[in-house]
Symmetry: C3
Subunit: 225 residues, 3 copies
């Protein structure tokens, strides 16, 4: 590699575009692409065949999100698997783990110590707190907030558009408070709030707010107590 | 690149195989592979690390679908993300958007203006109409029909084999009529029909046909009215 | 390629690291990476942009699984799609088919003749029998057992941690016996057992053991008879 990256161990066929900043002791796997302006901290490890720092695109029916996009920032100690895509406008905190085939879109914050599972997708404008777990194949829709220490089981699903494209509507994802846990394959509707330390059972369909500390299960989800 | 592609902007390590036709003002990202015979229209943009125009394979327990496969055709103005796979025998219409990590199999039609979300999978022999939305991680099984303006929310699931491999059976996916909307993480059974402008609630399990204009929710899905 | 791989047909930009063993009549697609020590049998076909033979990584909140990992073994006649990741410590049997964008983690056994669908994920320490079908986007959690001839429909979800990270707990995935069939988008809870030839309906949430030969549906799943 060129001079600025003397501490970087890069695989074969790696493409690093202009204005990329890379810290010390960074490892980048074969065939990975780092797009312009991306900033990568110290001790970051990125697997093979990833595409990192993408600027958003869309077709005419999708909302514009490419204005005012700063380059992607990845902080110290974060580990990224293989075949991952991460977009510009996003900040990935320290010591995050991102599994293979995951995708994180633009204008997202991922707090330190959080785990994003394999094939999970985080949509635009979402904020994931510290030490959260977003398990394999879980889906975090756009405009969602996860406070710290939230657990989303595998295949958790969310929506942020209660009219499913039929009306103009301010998109609102779920708001999931500190310590809440959502079981595998649960479905969360747009704009619902899940209180602190609440528990949502596997396969539940959450259609309204869940109070702090409650356990809800079923379709629609109801309090078990 | 070789002479035929003078208007094409290709990234590094791009592989373009024989008999590929590429229109004007096309952009192809780093490490993307375009397989033999693929035809790409004008103003198409393809991201990095994609595999485009694949000829189908299988093992002994899977049905043959490699006979009479024409090369993949991608029409003008379509935008394709990163790490996408699209198969031969398929036609992607104009101004389609296909998100990162999506996969579209052989003998599929995707109508113009349609959005195929990130990590969505469209199986073989399916027909997606114009201006449809297939959201992130949604699954369109084989032998499915979506008419125009259909909305599938995130994580929608379908099946096309009611005996789950146990009996010989003509595979039939759902038939979803114009303007119907299916909420996130709903499950659709083989061969069911969803009428025009019908709405299926999030997490519903649709076990029989839904009439036009009705709203169904729950497990099994029932009319709310 | 170098002398040891004279019978191997490799695409462009393929990376084969040290101590890799490759049998006869093997095809490896463009941009695919084969990591150190991987052993590939005769007549294996691997698609483009795959990462094969990965040694596991994690962050501090994830369990260690990198001890005593043997290299990946792929047996004769297996076919692997595009953009697939498979980890070290795993054995993939003969004539297996693995679809595009699937991921198989460390310490997994995949029995001969089994089909792993597109975008399916198999987590660590799981054992998949012979002639199983794990359909598209299905999720097999860690510490799961599938006996032979098991069918998992598309988007099937599982969990292996009943406290969702809140307590120390020996992780236990489901145990699914010979010939059982699980419908699309069903949810299986940690440690449940599904008996021989049992059938779980689409979208069911299985919260307790299912006896051999029974059919269960609904939320929670109940016997239909």
């Amino acid at each position: 590699m060129s001079d600025p990256f003397q501490n970087v161990q890069t695989g074969k066929n790696v493409v690093i575009e202009e204005d990329v900043h890379i810290g010390k002791n960074v490892v980048i796997g074969h065939n990975t692409v780092i797009l312009p302006g991306t900033s990568i901290g110290d001790n970051v490890k990125i697997g093979a065949n990833c595409v990192i720092g993408i600027y958003p695109e869309g077709n005419n029916s999708m909302r514009e999100s490419s204005q005012n996009v700063h380059p992607l920032i990845i902080k110290n100690g974060t580990k990224i698997g293989q075949l991952v895509t991460i977009y510009a406008g996003t900040l990935v905190g320290e010591n995050v783990f991102i599994g293979d085939l995951a995708s994180i879109r633009e204008h997202v914050l991922v707090g330190e110590g959080t785990v994003i599972g394999r094939s999970a997708v985080i949509e635009l404008n979402s904020r994931i707190g510290k030490n959260c777990t977003v398990q394999t194949l879980a889906y975090v829709t756009g405009d969602t907030i996860l406070e710290n220490n939230v657990f989303l089981g595998p295949n958790v699903s969310m929506a942020n558009d209660k009219y499913m494209g039929a009306k103009a509507y301010t998109l609102r994802g779920p708001y999931i408070k500190q310590g809440a846990k959502v079981g595998n394959n649960a479905s969360l509707l747009p704009g619902i709030q899940i209180g602190e330390d609440a528990v949502v059972g596997a396969g539940a369909v959450v259609t309204k707010d869940v109070e702090s500390g409650l356990v809800v299960t079923g379709v629609p989800a109801k309090n078990q107590s």
